[in-house]
Symmetry: C2
Subunit: 137 residues, 2 copies
DNA sequence: ATATATCCTATCTATTTAGTAGTATTTATT
DNA sequence: AATAAATACTACTAAATAGATAGGATATAT
């Protein structure tokens, strides 16, 4: 399962992509209201996305958030990894958060082989998805 | 991520499948030692698998656990759902543990559509795997 | 009777999840 | 310069989950 936080992050980014016009930033409070996300929690999420170079922010009056890159250049996997960490179902098959099994010999591990397949088919789908592909237009 | 508990469950079942001979039951302590799983924790797991009709148990001397069905009739998904619950990445796309989203219209939800694909490709792989297919032989 | 296995109830600690509260800082406008 | 309005930051909290452990009850082969 992906976390609620991650679902919020995706919805917030899609909302920003749908509402960026001219170069006006989108405010946390607008996203919170329209997407029904707790405002203070959303603040934390947006800041985290900014720290990871998905968003840029502007403080003070008329402040808010904008995508740092084009929506088609932000993949779903990138967002999911920032917010939730590994996508794989086992640490020993994770590409970005690999950790060794202590109990099994990995070369001959049948369980590992299965979850490598799951990882590959999952990434086939998720890598192809971007914030752009999730917008209305 | 699947839990450690679930990985233990799978390894324990594969161990039982590999070590069932004649009609001798396999003891918790043997599995615990050979698979390096904490014994008391493993007891809970095996009992849970028994309560869900994956295993049968025999108490007392010469007691232990046996598969209730043939190893090729126990799918990986069945075990995973018993121990960890849903396999899908979102409650609203889970086949066995469905829960409605409260914030989005499901018919038009782009996020849901993506994670339905992930679910289908994941189940394509996991439904094809059984305790038998994970054994040595 | 006894040794040995599962069964059951209760408990525990650490981590993660999902937030909330309050203050500091920055910026546009007047 | 003052003010209003936005993000930035620090700290805290409650509930759930993960990953176990402890101890006694019960069943069974010998």
């Amino acid at each position: 399962m992906i976390s609620n936080k991650c679902k919020y992050a995706i919805r917030a980014l899609v909302h920003i992509a749908n509402n960026e016009q001219d170069d006006r930033a989108v405010m946390t409070s607008d996203i919170a209201r329209e997407q029904q996300i707790p405002r203070k929690f959303l603040e934390i999420i947006l800041r985290e996305l900014r720290n990871n170079r998905i968003l840029e922010s502007k403080r003070g009056k008329d402040g808010g958030f904008r995508l740092l890159r084009a929506a088609e250049d932000i993949s779903l996997t990138e967002v999911m990894r920032i917010i939730d960490g590994p996508i794989a179902m086992l640490p020993c098959v994770s590409l970005n958060y690999y950790r060794k099994c202590d109990e099994c010999e990995e070369e001959s591990c049948e369980i590992k082989a299965v979850f490598e397949q799951v990882r590959d088919r999952t990434l086939d789908i998720l890598n192809g998805q971007t914030i752009k592909s999730l917008t209305l237009s």
